[in-house]
């Protein structure tokens, strides 16, 4: 079908939130580099963080093809109000259990989103989605194995994992905050929409947690889903992250590496 201006606007919104989610979670997770719990996990977690940055670049490149600015400019010169990531990805690192819960929730949503997009009517996006399939599969494998290990480790590890799963859940629901163009994205076959994604995601994480001996929080019980990120309303934690991330770029935007 012929894409109208509204369809393209919806596509742009979709690409921006995906790109920003990936860039910000990539940056947050990379903050563990050198500080990870054990060397092997440090390497694995850092490597996945790099993957996320690479995936965000692919999204910014698609946006560039749609007429947006160069990826570096888009990534490094906006302030927090111009970012469309969900709150989940911008929250500061705390204990490792929080980072694992965030990784588990985010990457399962990401894996399903990319799987949906493999059939997107917007061909360039479908190609990018296919390209990263294996990478994202590893990310969910990594999250699932850790979930299983810690659920079956000691009493303390199980309790802490369950507690991180519970407290991170309302933030995770912010991933699925709907945009203004859900209907257009669905009718044009670009993307199946946040509501469908959320349903599939919840089923996936519930099954996985149950298999590990943990419990998925009830969807209905959540009154405080972390919404607003998609519209540029963020927690106080995003701007300091952006300032730190863009520190070198700000010194000399024309520098060659």
């Amino acid at each position: 079908m012929e894409l109208t201006e509204k369809h393209v606007e919806g596509l742009r919104e979709l690409l921006y939130k995906m790109a920003d989610d990936l860039l910000i979670i990539g940056h947050r997770n990379s903050e563990w580099t050198g500080l990870g719990p054990v060397l092997e996990e440090d390497i694995a977690f850092s490597s996945m963080a790099q993957d996320k940055i690479g995936q965000s670049l692919a999204m910014y490149e698609l946006l560039h093809q749609l007429g947006e600015n160069e990826p570096d400019i888009v990534a490094f010169t906006r302030n927090d109000k111009q970012f469309h990531n969900c709150h989940l990805v911008e929250l500061p690192n705390g204990e490792y259990d929080f980072s694992l819960a965030r990784h588990f929730y985010f990457d399962h949503a990401d894996a399903i989103r990319f799987a949906m997009l493999e059939n997107s009517s917007f061909e360039p996006l479908a190609m990018v989605a296919k390209k990263f399939k294996g990478e994202i599969k590893y990310h969910t494998m990594h999250a699932d194995v850790w979930m299983k290990e810690l659920a079956n480790g000691t009493e303390e590890s199980k309790a802490r994992m369950q507690s991180a799963i519970d407290s991170t859940f309302p933030m995770a629901l912010g991933i699925f905050e709907e945009g203004d163009y859900e209907k257009e994205l669905i009718e044009s076959g670009i993307f199946q929409g946040e509501a469908a994604l959320k349903e599939m995601w919840y089923q996936k994480i519930s099954e996985t947690l149950q298999r590990c001996g943990l419990q998925a929080p009830e969807l209905e019980s959540v009154q405080n889903a972390a919404l607003g990120g998609r519209k540029g309303f963020h927690t106080e934690h995003l701007q300091p992250l952006l300032s730190e991330m863009t520190e070198v770029f700000a010194i000399d935007p024309t520098a060659d590496w």
Binding site: L35, E40, S47, V145, E149
Partner: protein, 124 residues
Amino acid sequence: MIIKSLDPRINRAGIDDEAQIGIQQPLDQWQTYEVFQQKKRGTHHVHVGSLHAPDHELAILFAKEQYARRGQCVNLWVVKTSEVFATAYEDEDIFATTPEKKYREPEVYKVMDRIQAYKAKQNQ
């Protein structure tokens, strides 16, 4: 004193420079696994190194990023180091005459002369 660093992450972590690292308990001190990588289907798995992991599932996860994040790989094996049995270096002399046993190598078979002669003839 809290460690001060140029790296803001270190400052945020608030690490005490007097902190003592205790003796590692078994839960913190994982066993080692040996990692074998296969570059193409049908070829041998080749030993590429070792890593720490609490069990084989995490060992495989770690091996993927530690040894197969660059270059080609189609398959990985992990084996507990404690399950690898080896000859002793003091018995190295059991291999002493191995390099001399050319008669065990196909290159020295009589038929090779004829094959080489045939090949030479074909190339003329």
